[in-house]
Every structure is written in C-alpha cells, then in structure tokens.
Amino acid sequence: MSFELRERDRRAIFILAAASTIYVLVSYAVLPAIDKLSQAPSRVSDTEEQLRKYRRALIRKGHHTEQLQQARKNVAEAEARFIRGDNPTLASVELQTIVEEAAKKVNLDLGQRNVSPARKKDDAFNEITIALALESTPAQILGFLAEIRKAPKYLTVRSAQMAPAQIMTEPPKKGDFMKTIRANITVAAPIPVQIRKNAD
C-alpha cells in the first residue's frame, strides 16, 4: 500500500506542529514568564519593605551592645537574689540552711519539716517548698517570719496557719496565760529556670 502526502496533508501536519509548538511555548514559557512579571510590582513593594526593615535594624546595631550588657548585668543582679537552680539538691539544701539559720536566730526549735522536690511553677520559675510545724511564742514566730523576709535569698511564705495552744475568751483573773502558738508554715523558694543557650 503506497502512502503519499498531499499538499493538504502537509499543510495540516504543519499547522498541527505549529499549534503544538505554540501551545508548549505559551504554556511552559510565555505564560509563566508573564505571570512572574505581573507579580513583579507586588514583589517590589514587599522587597522594599523588607529592605527598609533591614536597614532600620542595621541602624540599631551599635545600640544593642550596651543595652545587652546592661540587661545581662540587671538579670545577674536579680538572679543573685534567688537560690540557684542548677542543682535541685543543692537548692534544697540551701533553702533548709536559710530556714534553719532564721530559726536559730530567734531560738526557735524547728520540729517536723518536710522539703518538697522542685516543681514547675510557670515558664520562668520552678519552686521548692519546706513545710514546717512549729510550736512557739508569737514573738518567736514573728521574728522567724521577719528573718525569712530578710534572708539573703528571696523566700516567701506560701501559707501559714496559726492557732493558740490554749484558747482564751477573756483575760485570766490572776496570773498569766500560756502564750504558745502552734503554727504550720510553708516557706517557698522560687528558682529561676535557666535560659537555654540555643544556637540562634
């Protein structure tokens, strides 16, 4: 069977090839290029804004060094007021030491005491507490609380329950009454969470 291409066939093939070429060119080259170009104005405004921000940031470059030094110093000073939390055991020991020294200063005999492990308080602080059960005079209790407040490290009384050993409704007719107070006091020590040195 012979196969002969006539002029009409050649023309059809040529048109088909031309249409295919145009389609491929338009779809994969022209339209993407036009799309890219048409997005250029918005890209320019975005990029200008970004460059403006970058330049503003560069202007601030020199100021940050001093500010950083001051901020580090302030933070270090503030952190010095707190028990260090690098080692929870050491922190617990330090809390007990402070509490015992405060008690010793007012001749308070600490009875039962219970130290809790460090617990997360919020994103910035962990907390360790020591629960104390006391029996002493009001002056000793108040002196103890005053010593706790004056402690070299920041401590706070989380809760306090006090009740007289002998409940009175009126002064005794003669002699003095026993001024003994039973107290349950929980002293807490907030421990700053160490800033993680990330790689940014």
């Binding site: 890209r43 460059l51 940050h64 910035a124 409704t169």
Partner: protein
C-alpha cells in the same frame, strides 16, 4: 506552503483578454475581481502593453502569480493511460514518448502533463499532456513580462477549463464547457479525468450547438448529455448565462461564469486536479522569492517584540529592581541576622528581668497581716485561729461584737471583702464567736 495567496488568471480569446483575480485564505477561495480588455488581440504590441498596464494600474491587479490560458488551437492536448505503478516515473516515461505525441520537434516545444490522483483499485492512471510550440508561447512570456505581469504559468484553454471544472466541483458529473468566440465555439467535455475538446464554427442559432456537443459525446464515448453540467462562457449574451451553474467561489456573481476561462486559469496555482499543468519552463517561470518577505517579517517581528517590550517594560523593570533589592538584602542579611539575634536576646533578658523583679515584688504579707490584726483588734477580742494562703486570710475568735470586728477589718487598707464564713454565735461568756474571711488588698 501559503495560507494567504493571490493569483491572477489571464485568458486570451479570439479578440479579448480577460483577467480574473482570486485569493485563497486557508484554502477558501474568493473571486476578487474580473476584468476584460476588449479588442486586445487586434492591438499592436505597444497598445496592448499600454492598455494592460493601465488596467493593472487602475485595478491594482496583483502581478505575482499570473497564469495564462492560451487558445486551444495554439497547441495540442494528448491523453494517455499508463499503469498506476509507474506513477513515480511519469516524468521520465512521458519524456520518452513526447516525440511521438508531439507534431513538432521536441526541441521546439514546451510541454507539461497533469495526472489524476491515485485511486484505489485503479490500475491505470490517465495522463493529460499539453504541448505548445515555443514560437507561440515565448512572445507571450516576453510581452507579459514587459507589461509588468510576468507569467508564472501557462496552459491551453481546454486544459484550463478542465482544471476549473475539477477544482470547483468535486463530484465526477460530466461537464460540458462551451466557450464561444465571434468566429468559433470551443467545446470541452470533462468526465472524470477524461477530457475531450473540439472547436466548431460559431453558431448563433443555439446556445449548445448540437453538432459540437454530439462530437464531444462521441469523443468521450458518452451516449447523451443528460445530467451533464453545462457552462456557456465567452462572448455570449447575459441571457445565455442564466442556465449556468453558479461558481462555488466566495463573492462570485452569476455573470462570473462568462469569464470562466480566466477564473479557471486563476485557480491553476490554488488547486490540484488531473489537468493541472504548466508549460512555462521552470527557469522562465516568474516566482517571487520568499526572501522578499524577510524584511517584512523581520519588521513585523521587531514591531511585535517592541510592542511586547513596551507592554512588559514596567513589569520587567520592576522585576530587575526587585532582583537588585534581593541582592542588597542578601548583602546585609548576615549583619541583620546578628542584630536580630541581639534583639532576641535582649527581649529574652528583658522578659527574664521582668519576671525576676515581679517575683521579688510579689512577696507574702503574712507579717503585715498579723501586725494589722494586732493593731486593729480590741483588747477584749481573742483569736482562736489564723490562716493565710494565696492572699486569703481566715481568722476565728471571740469578741464583744463580731460585727464591730468586721467593721474594723473592713476599714483597714490592707483588707477587703471581709465576710463571715459561719454564723456568729453567742458564747456563755457573753462574747460572739466569729469566723471571718478577707482578701489581702495588696498593692503590688
């Protein structure tokens, strides 16, 4: 390959010259115009040239693709049949036979042939050979070139009419063309790829002279002209054209059939048929070089590119500008990252400092609350319990008047929301037993 093409068909009759202009647009043919130069043959060469040039100039007739149809008696047409297998070798075979077929020596003639398209089950192919003495054609080639209408092709009128019939009507209905001139009538019968032509005397009595038609039918071996398409053209009255079929060309008028010869000549370069032939030697054919289109296409392309460039100029400049900005950003990016790192650290340190100071300021108020209670409560009041947790203080005890205690505590700047937690009871000692709850009003 042309999608837009114009051609000019020229027919030389006994006295007149007719010109038809056709235009092909994607294969669709339109008859643009038809012109007639009356008495052209009788003119001197100079007059002919002038008349033709005037006609060309006045009507802006295209001179790029001109095909001439000469009177049948200036040459001969032969038809032979050859095996279809030899189709590819036809030029060599016919060249060998041309001396036998030509009444003139082969050195003194121009010839060409047309062959029907191959069909299934047809073992033979009909070849139409046109032979023209050089002495007839050369003067016309020279004349038309000098007149500004150089010939691209030429053939005999009978073959031209056959080509016209085959080009315009695809069906193989027999067709008879009667081309009338003052002194003769040329009859052509086309049946498929077969062509019969006969020139008889002019006969004013009938439109289709019976003798001429009978001879054509006899030559074509047809029994009758029943059902055949009949076209009368040439020098005839308009009334004789009424029975002519309308030419299937765009913009063709009913009277266009009168100049069927020139119209058919104009179709020679635009359509293929079994009769398509061109006796003008290849080296004498006028062809417009496609290179002439190069400047036009180049300028067109440049104009398009320039237009596109103008349209896309803003976007392109923006794109370039954005790239420059990107480069600038990349350049300062490391320093900015350093600054951003510093700012981040500063933020973290500030936040930490705020947290630390806030924690320090957020101290307990146990001492203050106990001191305030000692200051406020009257000497007759006795406390049975004190509790302080999460800023809420609860006390219980005995007093002459529980409401007095509530009032005293409420008046303190350290407490607010003082309220009884249980009902107040009167003790046998005559004092009220109370239990109060209050909130520390702490200014942090």
């Amino acid at each position: 390959m042309f999608f837009f093409r114009k051609s000019t068909g020229v027919e030389i009759g006994e006295e007149d010259l007719t010109i038809a202009v056709a235009r092909s647009t994607f294969g669709k043919i339109r008859l643009s115009s038809v012109h007639r130069l009356t008495g052209f043959v009788a003119m001197t060469d100079e007059d002919r040239r002038k008349a033709l040039q005037d006609l060309l100039h006045t009507n802006r007739i295209p001179a790029s693709n001109v095909y001439l149809s000469l009177p049948r008696d200036q040459g001969v047409v032969r038809q032979i049949q050859l095996p279809a297998d030899l189709r590819r070798k036809l030029p060599e075979i016919i060249k060998l036979q041309i001396e036998t077929l030509s009444p003139w020596p082969s050195a003194e003639i121009y010839w060409d042939f047309g062959a029907e398209a191959p069909k299934k089950d047809h073992k033979l192919v009909t070849i139409t050979i046109v032979i023209l003495p050089k002495t007839y054609l050369d003067p016309w080639i020279s004349f038309f070139r000098s007149a500004g209408l150089p010939l691209s092709g030429a053939t005999l009128s009978s073959v031209t009419h056959g080509h016209g019939i085959c080009s315009l009507w695809a069906e193989e209905t027999p067709a008879i063309v009667l081309h009338r001139e003052d002194s003769y009538t040329e009859g052509i019968l086309i049946s498929g790829s077969r062509l019969a032509a006969y020139t008889g005397p002019a006969n004013d009595d009938g439109v289709a002279p019976k003798l001429l038609v009978d001879r054509l039918l006899s030559a074509a071996k047809l029994s009758s002209s029943e059902g055949a398409r009949l076209i009368v053209c040439g020098k005839v009255d308009d009334s004789a054209l009424e029975n002519n079929p309308r030419l299937p060309l765009e913009a063709a008028k009913p009277e266009s059939t009168k100049d069927f010869g020139s119209v058919a000549a104009a179709l020679l370069p635009l359509k293929d048929s079994a009769f398509k032939s061109n006796v003008v030697p290849v080296d004498l054919r006028y062809r417009e070089s496609r290179r002439r289109l190069i400047p036009a296409f180049t300028l067109g392309l440049l104009a398009t590119l320039m237009g596109a460039a103008l349209l896309l100029r803003d976007s392109y400049q923006n794109s370039v500008y954005a790239s420059q900005l990107d480069g600038e950003i990349r350049k300062i990016s490391p320093q900015v990252k350093e600054v951003a790192g510093q700012e981040k650290e500063l933020d973290q340190l500030s936040q930490r400092y705020r947290n630390l100071t806030s924690q320090i300021q957020n101290r307990d108020y146990v001492l203050e609350s106990v001191g305030e209670l000692a200051r406020l409560l009257p000497a007759s009041a006795f406390l049975a319990s004190y509790s302080c947790q999460d800023g809420i203080i609860t006390i219980s005890g005995f007093a002459q008047s529980a409401s007095e205690i509530q009032s005293l505590l409420e008046s303190s700047p350290l407490f607010r929301g003082v309220e009884f937690t249980t009902s107040v009871t009167r003790e046998p000692s005559g004092k009220d037993r109370f239990s109060l709850k209050m909130v520390l009003e702490v200014t942090k």
